[in-house]
Amino acid sequence: MPSGTREYLLKRVVISCLMIPAIIVFTFLLLRLAPGDPAVMMAGEGATPDFVEMIRKVYGLDKPLYEQLAIYMSKLLTGDFGYSFTFKRPVLEVILDRVPTTILLAGTGALIAIAFGVLLGVVAAIKKDSFTDSAISSLTLILYSIPIFALAQFLVLFLVIQYRLFPLSGYVSLGVSPSDPLKFTLDVLWHLVLPASSLALIQMATYVKLTRTSMIEALYSNYIIAARARGLNSRRILLRHALKNALLPIVTMAGIQLGLIIGGVVITETIFSWPGVGRLTIEAIDARDFPLLLGIFIFTSVSVVVANIVTDIVYTYIDPRVKLR
């Protein structure tokens, strides 16, 4: 990688890394802005007065603000995100427990969304202004407008209640365990279908739109005309040329979507009782478990920042114009 790109990447990574302490400071300040005693909030509403006092001491809540911040930051750096009184375990542990299931759900949803979104977008672009194109665009418009909690419930109404095709909740049925790997996998997959589809359908709209636009731009661009003039007119060849260019914005969009889809994940996990970080958030809210909530917030924010850095790096590798400048 030539020095120009290396510099550029380094700059991006450094700035993104600076975001992380900024996030922590921001959260910290936000919490302090709230009415009420921060010690009570951090200890949790069900805590005993002794526990509250202990929290006050441990986090130095009677000390000046910057000292509090320093204490908090240093704790975070050692992996101490606090203690969740609802789960009676350290917050980080509780969160990490749920991360794999969320990644399974969100990852599957995103992959399906991208696969189908790009496919439909390409079809719509090739058959521009035809009936197929209008049909796809109309469908996209509706998917873009319908809230995920409505869509998911329609799926439940038809596929769980009306026609008992899929299970409603959880990620695995009772009595099925990893000791039987095949059965376990199939069972989990069966549970995964509806929640992942809900996420996928909502995200798909964005990918269809983007793919269609960037594919059309590519198909009408000069290099396609020149390729046809050289006698390369096979659909396949032209599509390859156009598609390669059209996919670049998709990668960028995928990175952006990572941050945007979190709300959808929270809602989907709630509707389908999927045991992930999203549902954990709601459980934390219901129990007023502030340390847990705080930990989730910081954890997800940092994850999104890291994910964006990764996307940036990936992008610099695939676009030669960035790679070689």
Binding site: M19, L30, P147, A150, Q153, I161, I285, V304
Partner: protein, 284 residues
Amino acid sequence: MKTRSFIKGFDLKSKMKTSRPLAISTILLSIILFLAITTGLLTDREPLKTGYAPGLTAPTSEFPMGTDQLGRDVFTWTLYGIRTALVVSVVSTSLTVIIAVLVGLPAGYFGGKLDQVLMRITDFFLSIPRFILIIFAVIIFSPTLANIIMILSVFSWPSLARIVRAEVLSVKEREYVQAAKVIGSNSFDIMFSEVLPNVVPPMLVASALQMSDAILAEAGLSFLGLGDPNTASWGRMLSIARQAIYAGGWWTLLFPSVFITATVLAINLLADGLNDILNPKSVR
């Protein structure tokens, strides 16, 4: 001057004909607005009051959209929900626009340190997951409608401010701005009378999308139980629907879903239509 003629020479009828999304959107929005205004005439029940019926009842002539498990009238709630949605979206978007302009305009126009600082702030807000932040803030500051509206505005202005700033940067170099500078107008005059009117049209599309975003955000919060318990929000009805559909109460799911989708759709079409008018060269 370019800006004045844009507004003066605006022929609504012909614009309608060229953009189908705009036409559909106008029709839909008119219907929705009409329903919002005449809600009081269409029903004399209260949206959140329980006990109009003993329990879950299917749609009848007395209850055109049925009732939920606690006997609340779905029809009334759905109609009042329009008002909630419109209030939330209009007010929070207006606040967002004001903040975005107040921040983006000087940032783009003056540049320098001010611009750097503002860019870092917007970068920050854009890199953190918005929804969790909103949830967090709502919990901290107690879920009243006013709070929710303010929280939505506070976390939405950064992306709009970016757009404003970008537009200002491009408008800044145009002849009429340079001309005004030469004449000796002071900066604030230039900013508001020359630059701002030209920044507004591109911002309209983003603002419209902001509105539909706000509706979905508020509904999402209400669905999760984080909304204002005293307002008739479609989101909350859809959370009630979660239980109701098991007992066969499909109407609690269908009607609010149709309404919220239609409203968001109408606003998105408005954004599309505005885009057609303002950027006629863009790929359709």
